[in-house]
Amino acid sequence: MTRDEMAVLLDRFLAGMRARDVDAMMAVLIDKCTYESPAGGHLKGKPAIEAFYRAWFDAFPDLQLQQKRRLQDGHRAVVVSTFTATHRGELFGMPGTGKRVTFDVLTAVRFEGTGIAGLCFFYDFAAALMKTGALKVKPV
């Protein structure tokens, strides 16, 4: 795959995410794709990743993802984005709160063969849970 071909695949994946179109997202993943995030844990294979995204979009049906920067190096890429959404559906057992959540996220992407083979997300997950109210904390 060329650099441009990888960029196109990544564009399609991110466009699918912005449109909450899970089928479009899955279309660019290889079957044995792996996924890792604080929210989803470690997932292997498209069915597990698809199930996670359907639940994620149910929880955040107005999800927006604004790309701020992209890096590509060989068969890898990094995307830095701002995630913004309203917590409308169940999230870790907690019904929607209507609270807005915004955080920056860095996504590491690995390409293999004809598609995306790995996705790994880095962000302040506990802070996101606090914003939704799914996690309540107090300082010492």
């Binding site: 990094v78 302040d124 506990a126 904390v137």
Partner: protein
């Protein structure tokens, strides 16, 4: 994306960028805040989930000192790096035991073990922009600086 510290824009060779990131790891092991800060541009910016926007080498040095005092055995191990132009990302594993003051907490003796990504922009042989991405609030909870109250979803 904020890119302060971009007064000058001297593109670095790929090898030089990789060497700077490797040097960052080596210097980190010495827990010398001044030496660590010296790898940053004089007007460099550190976008920190812990401290917010930290501008300038002196402030960056204070930030390193805070972490080294809070976690006297803190280690940062590079797992992978990715370079594109004068931007790069390092993928790291951060481990340490909280033994010094940390967000209102004295010594908890609790260990942290976090994977993180750090986004860098290089300029003129130094870090002009550094931005870590990791579960910082999770670190606060693991050390005990934040305490969970009630079960998820309960008032």
């Amino acid at each position: 994306m904020e890119t302060e510290g971009a007064g000058r824009c001297v593109v670095m060779e790929r090898r030089a960028i990789a060497d700077l990131i490797l040097q960052y790891e080596a210097v980190f092991a010495s827990h010398n805040p001044k030496a660590q800060a010296a790898l940053h541009a004089e007007d460099g910016v550190w976008i920190s989930p812990a401290a917010g926007k930290v501008v300038g080498r002196a402030a960056i040095e204070r930030n390193y000192r805070y972490w080294f005092e809070a976690f006297p055995d803190l280690t940062l191990d590079l797992e992978e790096m990715l370079i594109d132009g004068d931007w790069a990302t390092g993928f790291w594993r951060m481990r340490g035991r909280q033994e010094g003051p940390f967000f209102g907490l004295e010594s908890s003796g609790r260990r942290i073990d976090e994977r993180m990504a750090i986004l860098y922009r290089m300029s003129d042989g130094a870090f002009a922009h550094l931005q870590p991405f990791y579960d910082f609030s999770g670190v606060l909870i693991k050390t005990g600086a934040l305490k969970i109250v009630g079960a998820p979803g309960k008032k």
